[in-house]
Structures are given as C-alpha cells and as structure tokens.
C-alpha cells in the first residue's frame, strides 16, 4: 500500500508518501512523477510516513533525480531510520539530497 499526496504550486511540488515503496507500488509513484514533473523546478519528497523501501523504489528515486538534475532541484525530507539504512547501504545517501 502506498498513498501519494501531491501539493503543486507554480514550479514547486511536494510529494508526501505514506506506506511502502516496493515492487508493487513503485510503478504508482513513477506514474505520478511522470504526470506531474514536467514543469517542476523544485521537487521535494516527504518520507515521514514512508516505512519501507526496496530496490524498486530506489530505481524510481534515481531516475527522478537524473531528471531533476537537468531541470532544477530535488530534496528528500523526514527519512526514517529503516529507509535511511537502505540509502546508506546503497550509497544513495551520497547522491540524494536528504534533509
């Protein structure tokens, strides 16, 4: 289960994720991003209620980071201990901007 709450304002978007970002839900996030990201220069994710991430979720974050490097910035906020561990193990904590 993944709930995605999107707040958009001009070139800015905040995506708050709740639940699990895994094999079955990653396509849902990918769709939401592909639909909403085009004009965005300031993208942030709120991971406060994200309890789980697997490599399927990492793939979406990496491809989104690549897009945002070309058109603006991307920040991830409120990362839980469990999710942070996966970021650390995979070196994602070095390539993502985590606040």
């Amino acid at each position: 289960m993944l709930n995605i709450n999107i707040l958009k304002d001009a070139g800015k978007a905040v995506l708050a994720l709740e639940g699990r970002l895994d094999t079955s839900t990653a396509p849902q996030l990918e769709d939401a991003i592909n639909r909403d990201i085009a004009e965005i220069t300031d993208l942030s994710f709120d991971f406060k209620n994200l309890e789980y991430i697997s490599s399927a979720g990492l793939r979406v974050l990496l491809s989104t980071q690549k897009v945002m490097n070309k058109q603006g910035k991307m920040i991830i906020k409120n990362v839980s201990e469990e999710v942070m561990e996966i970021f650390d193990v995979t070196g994602f904590s070095d390539i993502l901007t985590i606040e």
Partner: protein, 145 residues
C-alpha cells in the same frame, strides 16, 4: 523452529510470502527494525525468482521475464540465535551471488538503474551461499539476530 512457505513463482504471491515472514519473525521475537530489514531481503530475492527462474529465452538467448511458471519455496530456520532464509526453485540454474556488485560510489549520472537488489541482500545478511542441487536452485541466507 523450521517453517516452509510454498507458492507459484509469481509476483502476486509476494504479499503472502511477506506476511508469512513477518508472522514468523514476530513469533520468534524479532523487533520491527529486523522485520523491515528481512522483508526487504525477501522482496529482492522473491522478485528475482518470480521474474526470471522460469523465464524462457528468445532465439538470441535473451531471457524474457515472466514467460514461464513453476513453484518456489521459502524455508525459515531459527536456531542458535541465527535466522536462515532458504529459497528454492526448480528453474534454470542461476547463481544471483555471482552478479557483480554495482559501484555505489558513482555520481548520479553514472549510476545505472537496477542491480541494487541482490547487493542489498548481500549487505544485509551475515552469510550467503548458493548451490544447484537435485535440479533445484538453493539460495541460503543467514542473519545473526
């Protein structure tokens, strides 16, 4: 403690396998952090087996995911403070541990999308081994609890 879960090697059974793992880990007194860590390991291995173990190859020899079907099983063994997760399938022989580790120090632009799943498994577990035995892929993963 030893318990086995069997299912068709299909992504749609991942949730059931995860529930089996979580229930068993709760029974033996694992904390939430351990449960989340081991659920990630389960997902990474399960997804590989479901997509590729029974997949057929095209005429050029490329494996096409999700083109076959067969059984898989997960056996959990808890003893002496260790938890073992043993995955078995009767698909084509494949040792996922031979896959080269991704370079996790590369910059964003040089990072490839994918290849991280089995790397997470290796990093998360304390011992990993593979054998092809009696027509089965047997992947054994051990974690000290």
């Amino acid at each position: 403690m030893k318990k086995t879960f069997e299912c068709d090697a299909k992504i749609e059974y991942l949730n059931k396998a995860t529930a089996f793992l979580e229930e068993t880990l709760e029974e033996i007194g694992c904390n939430m952090k351990q449960i989340v860590q081991l659920s990630v390991v389960l997902e990474e291995v399960f997804v590989n087996i479901a997509h590729y173990a029974y997949a057929k190859a095209d005429s050029a020899g490329n494996i096409i995911p999700d083109t076959g079907s067969g059984q898989m099983s997960l056996t959990l063994v808890a003893e002496n403070g260790n938890l073992s997760m043993i995955f078995e399938d009767e698909g084509r022989p494949y040792n996922p541990l031979e896959k080269e580790d991704p370079d996790v120090t590369l910059a964003v632009e040089d990072r490839e999308i994918g290849g991280l799943g089995i790397y997470i498994v290796k990093k998360r577990m304390d011992d990993v081994s593979y054998e092809y035995k009696d027509g089965k892929n047997v992947l054994s993963l051990m974690k000290k609890l």
